[in-house]
């Protein structure tokens, strides 16, 4: 249960997304530089609001 709340917090804050991004990056493009947390989260927010993700 404690783990779940931690996960929830990380999910809302964006830490979860960043962790997944870094994992993916290290596995697949280790030679390139990864984005830092701030730029990654800013980028992600920009993309989010180009799609339908709020409803009536």
């Amino acid at each position: 249960m404690k783990n779940f709340f931690q996960l929830l917090r990380d999910y809302i804050n964006g830490d979860f997304a960043y962790k997944k991004y870094i994992e993916h990056h290290q596995k697949n493009h280790p030679q390139q530089n990864a984005l830092d947390k701030k730029s990654f989260l800013r980028d992600r927010q920009k993309c989010k609001w180009k799609k339908i993700n709020r409803c009536c």
Binding site: Y11, K37, K46, W49, I52, N53, R54, C55, C56
Partner: protein, 661 residues
């Protein structure tokens, strides 16, 4: 063996209690019933449906398989496709689908009494809405997270794909216009409400600046501070309301508010997302979940008596809030909460890309929609705990109430004194509560009553304005997000990318202007309408949403029909046929009915006749002419919604016949 038996016993008991509550709601007459009946009927029906119907669909029709890799696991790009815990996906999906629709539709539909709306919400969500959401979510997931439009193009055909795309753009524009109208009607001549809602804009920006420059991952702390500031803004509104000079500044007409919202919408669509849209969305999501939870708790503690009768005489079509008989108009008034086509867009968006196990589609697709259905039931309860006289006084347009409003309403069989309404308005911190159409004020009065009774305090006016703020925030988030998405859709349609215009600021201002202009036109038209505008715009929105649901169900039917489980295609075909009949009936009646209260064209013809026979003063002629034009415009739009749906269905039949050959 013993465990199986116990399990069976529990499910029989749940079924029995559910059936008994249903019977209670449907059959008890002449005495007031408790709102607990509604909650138990709702919870038991949904539990049984979830446990048996959704499981059956998942196993027998979709062949959900936990061993198959989902797109999140297969593609896992660290960005869009990220496997995520199922409860988090559930929360994400629910926050995306739950908007203001399920709060407003049931409130308006309560004019028929509590029974028709409640039955439609429960039956509709279980057999139509949740089925649609789950199957579209599943199909998108099996096709690597493709969007609804793409799926339609692939599975049905190009024509249907284009029809669906235009339909989607149209629904967003109508949705924003009607939601804007609800906010205008709620804030009109309310200095308290206008101040509070205005203050939420700088508060959201403050949160946005903090998140952008200081701590991008500080969402929770920033949102908590933001919500505390929102509450402070509600309190600040009280000071404004009781201060003579300040209250004059914030006491604004409908036209003024409509233009402000149009300017705001334009700004929100063109400003960077981090400044306004994103922080407002965080705040609104927390507020939304918190308030719904609070309402559920308050209903459980207080379980108020239902004051509204099961059926009112307005099922014959003479209702003051919106005109038309219970069939078909109930089914386009309550769309969200029973079946909402818009959900198909969300279900084929982000959600299918983050599911980590195929079996989760039941909880996420079917379960979220059931939860939205229970939100709609709570809105229905909040409307029906009001004295019917008060309910009709708040929601009926001034034109329907005449000079002596209390007398008119009493003559409908709902006794009401003018002094009751004045007292109520004083208690809520408003000038008047007569003809505050749109659904939001009546819901806020209902919620204020429930909250203050349950939590034993006398802060009615604070609760009322908290509820107004909550609804407005909700709506403005949808308005911002919708305008922006519509803008990108238009840019796609006009091929901005190919023309290298997607980076140009002027081009994006132009596309924003077109979108805001489109919904702004309808919003302003609604504000000018002497009957309150809701009678035009809400049915139009309901039709468009059901049209999209029809398109989504057509897709679901085609997918099932083309699979090996062909014989089960009726589970989506039956709701589809129902929607086809309802929408076509509603559109034809709304456009061609000879009754001026219902038919768009009848009203236009009647006005034209008045002009021709010289009954209208010269200075009024241009207004009336504009009204005639608008009636014809909305007729054309309603007819094209129907046409779009039939084109998609025809294309689907064609593609199914081709498979057979």
């Amino acid at each position: 063996m013993k465990k199986d038996f116990l399990n069976l016993f529990i499910w029989i008991a749940i079924g029995f209690i559910g059936a008994a509550s249903f019977g209670g709601i449907a059959l008890i007459r002449g005495e007031k019933i408790s709102s607990l009946w509604f909650l138990t009927a709702c919870v038991c029906t949904q539990l049984v449906a979830y446990r048996f119907y959704s499981a059956w669909i998942a196993a027998k029709i979709l062949h959900v398989d936990g061993r198959r890799t989902t797109p999140a696991n297969k593609i896992n790009d660290g960005k869009d496709f990220v496997p995520t815990n199922k409860w988090i996906v559930f929360g994400h999906h629910f926050a995306a689908i739950a908007g203001p629709g399920p709060l407003i539709g049931p409130t308006l539909a309560a004019q028929f009494g509590y029974l028709p709306g409640t039955l439609w919400i429960l039956i509709g969500s279980v057999f139509a809405g949740a089925v649609q959401d789950m199957i579209i979510l599943f199909s998108s997931m099996r096709h690597d997270g493709k969007s609804l439009g793409q799926l339609i193009k692939d599975e049905i055909g190009k024509t249907a794909g284009y029809a669906a795309m235009i339909g989607t753009l149209a629904i967003i524009i109508i949705l924003i216009a009607v939601l804007g109208l609800v906010v205008v009607k709620a804030l009109m001549h309310s200095s308290w409400g206008s101040f509070t809602v205005l203050m939420t804009i700088p508060i959201a920006m403050l949160v946005g600046i903090y998140l952008y420059y200081i701590r991008p991952n500080g969402v929770i702390e920033a949102s908590l501070v933001g919500i505390a500031l929102f509450l402070l803004a509600v309190y600040g509104g009280k000071i404004v309301h009781y201060n003579e000079n300040l209250s004059l500044i914030f006491d604004r007409s409908g036209k003024f508010l409509a233009i402000s919202i149009i300017i705001y919408g334009f700004a929100a669509a063109t400003l960077p997302v981090w400044l306004l849209l994103a922080p407002r969305d965080y705040l609104s999501s927390f507020l939304k979940l918190g308030t719904i939870l609070l309402l559920a708790i308050a209903l459980l503690i207080f379980h108020p008596q239902i004051q509204m009768p099961a059926l009112t005489k307005f099922i014959d079509g003479t209702g003051p809030i919106f005109s038309g008989k219970v069939f078909p108009f109930l089914f386009i008034t309550i769309a969200c909460g029973a079946i909402s086509g818009f959900h198909a867009l969300v279900s084929s968006g982000t959600t299918p890309k983050i599911i980590s196990d195929e079996r989760d589609v039941r909880l996420i697709g079917y379960g979220s929609m059931l939860l939205e259905g229970s939100v709609a039931i709570m809105a229905m309860i909040a409307a029906c705990v009001l004295e019917p006289g008060i309910f009709f006084a708040i929601n009926s347009p001034a034109a329907a109430l005449g000079a002596d409003a209390a007398q008119t309403i009493s003559s409908w069989g709902f006794p009401l004194e003018n002094s009751t309404m004045q007292n109520l308005a004083d208690q809520m911190g408003e000038k008047t509560l007569f003809s505050r159409t749109g659904g939001a004020p009546s819901l806020a009065v209902g919620m204020a009553n429930i909250f203050s009774s349950a939590f034993g305090s006398n802060m009615l006016s604070m609760w009322y304005h908290f509820a107004i703020m909550f609804e407005a925030i909700f709506i403005l988030t949808t308005l911002d997000a919708g305008t922006r998405v519509a803008r990108f859709m238009l840019e796609d349609l006009l091929k901005f990318r190919d023309r290298k215009l997607h980076e140009s600021i002027i081009a994006s201002l132009f596309s924003s202007f077109l979108i805001v202009g489109a919904w702004g036109y309808f919003l302003y038209m609604g504000v000018l309408d002497p009957n309150g505008g809701v009678n035009i715009l809400w049915p139009l929105f309901g039709m468009s949403n059901q049209m999209l649901a029809g398109i989504a169900l057509t897709l679901a039917t085609v997918i099932i029909y083309k699979s090996e489980r062909q014989k089960f295609f009726f589970i989506t075909a039956i709701p589809l046929c129902f929607l086809l009949v309802t929408i076509s009936w509603a559109v034809i009646e709304k456009v061609f009915s000879a009754d001026v209260k219902i038919g768009f064209l009848a009203l236009a013809n009647a006005a034209q006749f008045k002009i021709d026979s010289g009954l209208i003063a010269n200075d009024q002629i241009s207004n009336i002419k504009r009204m005639i034009f608008n009636q014809k415009l909305v007729s054309g739009i309603a007819l094209s919604f129907m046409a779009i749906l039939w084109v998609v269905v025809a294309d689907a039949v064609r593609s199914c016949v081709k498979i057979k050959e």
